[in-house]
Symmetry: C2
Subunit: 537 residues, 2 copies
């Protein structure tokens, strides 16, 4: 067989050749752009020629601080397409972390959206390797700055060579992209993707039993492009010729619902927080969402009440998936098996709370201190993964050896496995609560609490306990209008039928909001501090 | 990223882990077997241990002369699973060719179906490397033979170790399988597949826009397992957990129709000759074929009348695909694009006569003597392919350099390309007819002839002509009952509105049958001899 590499450049070329009329619809600060893949292809080539002229060389890191737009999509293909490495930077990180990862990745150039540029103006003196900045703006003039070496994105495109060729001489194991984990503690850790990992991951997204990304899709990735390649959706959609809808900067639930209706979006993807917001919006205002064939949900476990609302009330298929920055990210995908068609609606909804089975191409082990756990839907163990789109290290980071052991990535996620081989995320190894020598899952308690009609969000944390070592405390945000209408006793009574006695939290604290990480995950460490302060009062 | 290889063993392990209850339904000589993937997995492992005990080493070729059955499926995984190379032998080849390829491939062991064993008894003295024979039989005793070193398949399974491990230390570029082209002239040419080519090809078969092979499928590969891995369907179906229906030895159209009805087959695949037979059967007898979501057709171009019958009369979606032994084989797949939904039924049927667009991961060029041809749906050129599941050589064969030039496989197929990028196979470079300096496509003429209600099969060949260099002659097999009811003039008149004058054949000869190759392709060279003899009379 030919030793032929799968490359990201060839993925864009496929869109240019076979889907030249299909469109990318993109919301920027000022307006909506509609560009065909023929145009996107030419602009990507122009951008490659501009990067070349600006001195970007093979292997150089190309940073982005940007929202989901067509320009960000063009950089997705232009950077790896000319041999450089796309480095998407999470704009929600703290300034120190942003400085840290730009310097750690040794970015040579930064592409930045107009409204994020002020941050760069503030921070740039701390950057050690960045030589050039490009502002992604619709306007004819650049925003005010004391910086030199600042270019306008559209000027670069205009002056570029739209016939510039994708680099052919690429090994599929060459680096193509990188992304840093949004760690809740310590410095972010970098993960390097390759052309191979992104192409194989795209195949996985196109499989009929996974997301089934298709030419006939109108896909709206709500998950940010700065967060694990927007779960790889822009790559897969371009390769397979789907229409893409990019929701742009600072989108609202209203914009998402409106875009779904207006552009007949068939598939969309994001974290549970996004879908809670969307649900609120579509239950307040009227939208026609009949085009949607699937909502993909990942990042953290979706509460059953939300799944039920999508599936039963709005008849929108809801697909749970699981992954991490280290897994490109798709690792498991939830779909009922054909012989589960006869399950009752309640059983189906229960199945949909699980994160599904492993993508073809990956391998998994679930282990506790005694080795492989039985697939009995009860025993908990840590999920280990390996495969061609699983990282084998953190980039230049001595924390590598903690997470990558004997060829397996230790996810830090605790799961159960049922006899169908589907996993259910129970907790983070670090968030399990150990009470009287037994494990309690904070996530299990949270999911049941969030199924209570009064509860908008719930987060359970451990507090130190002299007798039991640790005990759970629940923090609850109520839905609008429920303030004062539900007691902590009612919520605890709601939990009791479903858990062993020792699982029931010692207290419920009503809070205004749960502190969250930049990607919407609960910051349990922060919350624990708040709880401890509260209890000392 | 982990440098993790995609291997065929891991594909079977996925079926064992995630689809243990799903079944393979297999017709052998004596009965129907139903085995779960759990059982198939154990039997595959037992077979690996048996191969090991029989002295089969890494890289050794394991030959099969067998029909589509569960046993053949087990060998598909056991041979590459323990590091050996699966060599499927076309049972329809001439004895000399069978001897040639067994010796050329240096097969160490031959698995042979019971009813093919007599052939082995005849030929074995000519085999230079084969040490062991295994007869695949349901019976307790072996058929009569003077051979020593003959084993019963089920004895090997019974005595094997069902916990034997798939070899882990495999590079995905290691050889996994091989198949010889059924060349109409000269000696067969061998193509070596790798774990990588088969795994990537399986991804391509699972894509929503390709065959979309899924857990929910009941797949019946009619294309023989000895013919380019049954187009890779057994590999993809096992990996993705589909139910498989193996039609076994010497199947008839009646068996195929009955199996589709009985096992609720959702997808099936084969060459046009098979589907002509099936059409005849379902138009004579009554079957419920409502489960079928698709008939895949490849090997040679399907006539429009047949496509129309499936799509319009029987409401069975018909998918044209294109490939070759050298391409593992899937290269292109035909599916309408989403924006073609508004085409009229006639336009859709026309589209379905095309072989579709290139699978993601492959690259193509279409060239004539002036270089790349325009994608104008008119200009003809030879199709060149490259990619990770395209061969780069013939196995130990000095004909390699004719077909593999500058990194491209020259398919020898002449195509047009339309603006959508879909190809249409016009002819073999060697079967085009050159008349008065202009090309005439024999296949185009055949397709239109076969759309005439009286015509069952039509084959157009070139005969030498003093004035025009070559001229076309049509050979026609009529449908039952049309004998004497249609004249050659009527058929020529039927062609005239659709072609330039010089394309119209000089004569029509009615024949009883068209000589065909072992895989159902017209043997034009043979037919030409018959025509010339006929014309001399």
């Amino acid at each position: 067989m030919m030793d032929h590499s799968l490359t990201i450049g060839a993925m864009m070329e496929r869109a240019e050749n076979f889907f030249p009329k299909k469109e990318v619809i993109s919301q920027t600060h000022d307006k909506i752009h509609r560009l065909t893949y023929k145009e996107i292809g030419k602009r990507t080539r122009s951008l490659m020629s501009a990067l070349d002229k600006l001195g970007i060389q093979r292997g150089d890191r190309v940073g982005t601080l940007a929202w989901n737009t067509h320009r960000h999509l063009e950089i997705y293909f232009a950077a790896p397409g000319m041999g450089a490495v796309l480095h998407t930077i999470n704009i929600r990180l703290s300034p120190e972390h942003i400085i840290y990862i730009i310097n750690h990745a040794e970015d040579k150039i930064i592409f930045v959206d107009e409204d994020i540029f002020p941050l760069i103006n503030q921070l740039h003196e701390h950057f050690t390797t960045v030589k050039t900045f490009v502002v992604m703006t619709d306007k004819d003039t650049l925003p005010e700055t004391t910086l030199t070496n600042v270019y306008s994105y559209e000027d670069l495109i205009r002056d570029g060579d739209e016939t510039y060729e994708f680099l052919e001489d690429i090994d599929e194991r060459d680096p193509a992209g990188m992304c840093y984990t949004s760690a809740t503690t310590g410095k972010p850790k970098g993960v390097m993707y390759t052309h191979r990992s992104i192409a194989l991951h795209s195949y996985a997204l196109g499989l009929a039993d996974s997301a089934a990304v298709s030419e006939s899709d109108v896909a709206m990735p709500v998950v940010p492009q700065f967060h694990v390649n927007a779960w790889g959706i822009p790559f897969a959609c371009t390769w397979f010729g789907s229409t893409q809808v990019m929701p742009g900067p600072r989108f609202t639930p209203e914009r998402l619902a409106r875009f779904i209706e207006e552009y007949k979006v068939t598939i969309t993807a994001g974290v549970p927080t996004i879908w809670l917001g969307l649900l609120k919006e579509i239950e307040t205002n009227n939208y026609d969402l009949a085009s949607l064939r699937g909502v993909l949900c990942g990042g953290s476990a979706a509460p059953i009440g939300m799944i039920r609302a999508f599936e039963q009330k709005h008849h929108i298929p809801f697909f749970h998936a699981y992954g991490a920055t280290e897994t490109t990210p798709l690792a498991t995908f939830s779909r009922l098996k054909s012989y589960q068609a006869d399950l009752s609606m309640d059983e189906k909804i229960q199945e949909r709370t699980r994160q599904g089975i492993l993508a073809p191409g990956l391998e998994m082990k679930v282990v506790d201190e005694n080795g492989d756990i039985p697939w009995d839907n009860e025993t908990m163990g840590e999920l280990l993964l390996r495969g061609p789109w699983i990282a084998n290290e953190y980039y230049n980071d001595d924390r590598t050896e903690k997470s990558f052991v004997n060829g397996w990535f230790h996810t830090g996620d605790v799961v159960t496995v049922d006899e169908e081989g589907t996993i259910k995320i129970i907790d983070r190894t670090s968030d399990l609560i150990k009470s009287g020598g037994e494990w309690i899952s904070s996530v299990e308690l949270e999911n049941v609490l969030m199924a209570h009609e009064a509860v908008f969000e719930a987060c359970v944390v451990a507090i130190p306990d002299e007798k039991w070592q640790e005990r759970p405390i629940a923090c609850v945000v109520l839905h609008d209008g429920y303030d004062g209408k539900v007691t902590k006793e009612e919520l605890l009574d709601f939990l009791k039928p479903q858990f062993a006695n020792f699982w029931i939290p010692d207290d419920v604290i009503f809070v205004e909001e749960i502190p969250k990480s930049s990607v919407g995950k609960f910051l349990k460490r922060e919350l624990r501090k708040i709880v401890l302060t509260f209890m000392e009062q």
